[in-house]
Amino acid sequence: MSEVRPTDYGTCPTAAEPLPLERRLRKDQRHVFDLIPGGARVLDLGCGDGALLAALCDHRGVQGYGVEIDGDCILACIKQGLAVVHEDIDEGLAVHPENGYDYVILSQTLQATRHPRRLLQKMAKVGRASVVSFPNFGHWRIRLSLLFKGRMPKNEVLPYEWYDTPNIHLCTLADFEDLVRAEGFTVKRRILLDIHGDPLQSSRCAGWRASSAVYLLGG
């Protein structure tokens, strides 16, 4: 039995031997992970089973908090000792304090929210910086699919039929950057990813070539 000991509050417990990152995270999550410095206060919106948050806690010693709407995902987070709030991110993140976090993460979720603009504004309010990743609807395969087949695209990144997709606010890189500019945010980093989740070597014709992207935004 262990000795009576104080608890690290606000931070996640550390496993004795955490799994290597490449086994814990999807490739696109790796790029989000790499943007977060050690010890930061992090809010992960739509944190799912908590894989990214747990990796950040174990490997980066962040103070991690999740927001999730699905009960099974919340249960998975609790089992890992993560702090997670049952909340609909479209409802306005009401319980989160202003400037309460260093980084607010929205990983592959923006396109599934009802009010993306309002959410980005709220993220800027509760966090000092935002990390947003989303699929690029301007990728050449999607453009060609629409041009030649005349149908809404379906692929590995966007696997749903148009009538039952959770992705109700798809956008291109240019669309997103227009919104970001209009809202007065600055793009501090932009990581362009190919269809396999690996970074593109150059940003030439990014709007055509990037399958998805990760943005680091500041106020």
């Binding site: 009576v4 104080p6 608890t7 509050y9 206060r41 089992k79 000792g81 702090a83 997670v84």
Partner: protein
């Protein structure tokens, strides 16, 4: 609260007994928030499972308004199982194979611990309304003496629903070094005007009963049964949801085919409430009901931002906050107010709302997702011994 469900299939913690312990002395009395002192103080409590050598695997359960120390198992010769038997036992969410489980009756109550029905050592008669007012913090202070008495060094968790949740929260504020985690279920940090209004009507029902005699009904050889039953009937409505009552009773008539066109109990729901009221008065003391509802009304650990910052600064506990979709007594938004203040002060907090049609009473029932969450939290990585 409402009827608890028994768990079929295994025997849970089996046969148990309520024990009594006398704590505090005239030289070192229990000092209450009101400034009054109390000594000696009897606490009725039950324990299940075994305390480990480090003294850190204990789970303290705090009961709700009308609960008692008998959480789980059966008393010898009795059929009724404890009020949270479905949650407490080997392999259950509060696992007695892992945890040493403790529950005590609150002071000011009437199920074995010192309360207004106890004998006042100064007069040799029952305290009645001479009993000092007790607060949630006072109840917790008494529980802490019991925890010390049992040799518990650090509580793996303090768990409670409704006013039990308020006690669990208070534990983390008053003894931050002694509490690893708290599970706060269907609770709030402060009663709303509506909550207080319901309590006020309950108290009026009791105090206007002709048998109340300013709380000295024991000396008159009577009890204000009528008033206490009405108080319970009304409160019971607030523990259920409109949908739950409708599903269970609708407009069904009780033991009759047509209306009486009089003031008999025509409807099944009337009969049910009368049954709840009459059952309650057999086991609960009217004065205790006054004291315990008043302690709820007073509770407000975060009256303003500065106080919240001050009392939360030393807190180290992990929190699990749970609410139920149909609870209108303490709505989910009340739980979220607690989550908000905890997040504002960097506490490790998890919040989940569960779907249930059973209103406030859901916290006692077999809601599978809720049970799974409580179990996962107590068994979580990095949590507990």
């Amino acid at each position: 609260m409402g009827d608890t469900q028994s768990t079929a299939g295994d025997d849970g913690v089996g046969e148990v007994e309520t024990q009594l312990v006398e704590l505090f002395t005239a030289e070192a009395p229990l000092r209450l928030d009101s400034g009054a002192t109390l000594a000696p103080v009897t606490l009725a409590y039950e324990t299940y499972g075994r305390l480990n050598a480090a003294g850190n695997n204990a789970v303290l359960i705090c009961h709700a308004l009308s609960g008692d120390a008998h959480v789980a198992g059966v008393h010898p010769g009795k059929a009724n199982r404890g009020w949270w038997d479905n949650f407490v036992g080997p392999g259950r969410p509060i696992d007695t194979e892992r945890h040493f489980v403790v529950c005590s009756n609150v002071i000011g109550g009437c199920s074995g611990s010192t309360g207004p029905g106890s004998t006042n050592p100064a007069t040799g008669r029952a305290y009645g309304l001479d009993f000092p007012m007790v607060t949630t913090a006072d109840m917790v202070r008494a529980q802490r003496a019991l925890v010390d008495h049992l040799g518990i060094r650090r509580l793996a968790s303090v768990i409670g629903g409704s006013v039990g949740g308020m006690q669990a929260l208070q534990w983390t504020l008053d003894y931050p070094q002694r509490v690893e985690s708290a599970v706060i279920i269907a609770a709030t940090t402060r009663l709303s005007a509506q909550n207080i209004a319901f309590n006020a009507v309950s108290r009026q029902a009791i105090m206007t009963d002709p048998d109340f005699h300013d709380g000295n009904y024991a000396e008159h050889g009577v009890t204000p049964h009528g008033g206490l039953a009405v108080a319970r009937m009304m409160a019971h409505i607030t523990y259920l949801s409109e949908e739950g009552l409708q599903d269970k009773f609708g407009r069904n008539l009780q033991d009759r085919e047509r209306f009486s066109y009089g003031f008999d109990r025509d409807f099944a729901v009337e009969s049910y409430l009368h049954y709840q009221g009459s059952k309650f008065v057999q086991r609960f003391d009217a004065n205790a009901y006054l004291y315990l509802t008043k302690s709820m009304d007073y509770y407000d650990p975060f009256p303003d931002a500065a106080t919240a910052a001050q009392v939360l600064a030393p807190v180290e506990s992990d929190y699990l906050v749970c609410s139920f979709s149909s609870d209108w007594r303490f709505h989910s938004s009340r739980s979220m107010e607690l989550v908000e203040v905890l997040l504002r002060h960097n506490k490790h907090v998890t919040f989940q709302e569960f779907q249930s049609t059973h209103g406030h009473d859901s916290f006692l029932l077999d809601v599978p997702a809720y049970k799974a969450t409580v179990k996962a939290f107590l068994d979580r990585r990095g949590g507990g011994p």
